[in-house]
Symmetry: C2
Subunit: 150 residues, 2 copies
Amino acid sequence: MITNMKSLKIILEKEGIKPTYQRLKILEYMSRNTVNHPTVEMIYERLLKDIPTISMTTVYNTLSAFLEKGLVGAITITGTEMRYDFNTASHHHFLCKQCGRIIDIEVTCPFSEGKKLQHGHRVEEIHGYFKGICKDCLKDMKNSVKESNP
Amino acid sequence: MITNMKSLKIILEKEGIKPTYQRLKILEYMSRNTVNHPTVEMIYERLLKDIPTISMTTVYNTLSAFLEKGLVGAITITGTEMRYDFNTASHHHFLCKQCGRIIDIEVTCPFSEGKKLQHGHRVEEIHGYFKGICKDCLKDMKNSVKESNP
DNA sequence: TTCATATTTGTAATCATTTTAATTATGTAA
DNA sequence: TTACATAATTAAAATGATTACAAATATGAA
């Protein structure tokens, strides 16, 4: 998490992105919310509290710019909407079909390392998506069984 | 590729899906088009030639039913629309950012094998997506360079 | 044949995202 | 500082994929 605006500003300047207030606040949100893999909507709704005039378009445009510069990653795991990730280090994702949470998965796999050629194709991005029932939902399901069979 | 309607019919009956004409034709299309990872649109447009009254809704509903029974897989790699895959055996996908093609990638990786627990989560699906420039587009790019520097 | 049910169809609605054009902010030259 | 060019933000409309809904059609049993 990056708490001070000055370092956020430096990050944007280094990428040639003019550090406007909305861009800084969006980057700040991303840096403070690394576990929820937010949608544009989630970012927009939160920022409305600080910037009542902010628009969805700005959030979309800003995330596109961040994505292009590699400041964030994009996750297509749900199939319905894009999720964004401040953590651009190599890792995979788990989508819980029960609660909808997207959970980081640390993976060490020959295919998750480095961007090399695969079958002659130049690989620039590697995405590993797992889907199923998360640990917590599994626990809840077990508890429900216990309750109904006491 | 499954060429005769009788075996397609058996596949649907085995899953408890009533083998109507449109469902058989959709399954036939899927079995004959295993390399293009089609969108609903692509399936619909092709089937219009055989069934001029078919509707998009039927294609959507049918694919949802197939998906639920595991007759096809769903690929979210593009982030814009769902792609469907008749090949449900364990394999990964490569999206070419240049030509948009989705190419099957045979992968042997500890995480691509079997559906086990990961960090306590119950894994039911594993998706490996690679993005970059495909072999053919790489070749085309090299040729363009040659042409402009003869 | 008749009726109940499942399936298909067409249309409208929804949701995420993009496009467009107008407004606002910013930086620079006079 | 003012005037102007440019960039950024905004609101509204358009688009595209998907879902919801209701009417029409097909199917199968009594």
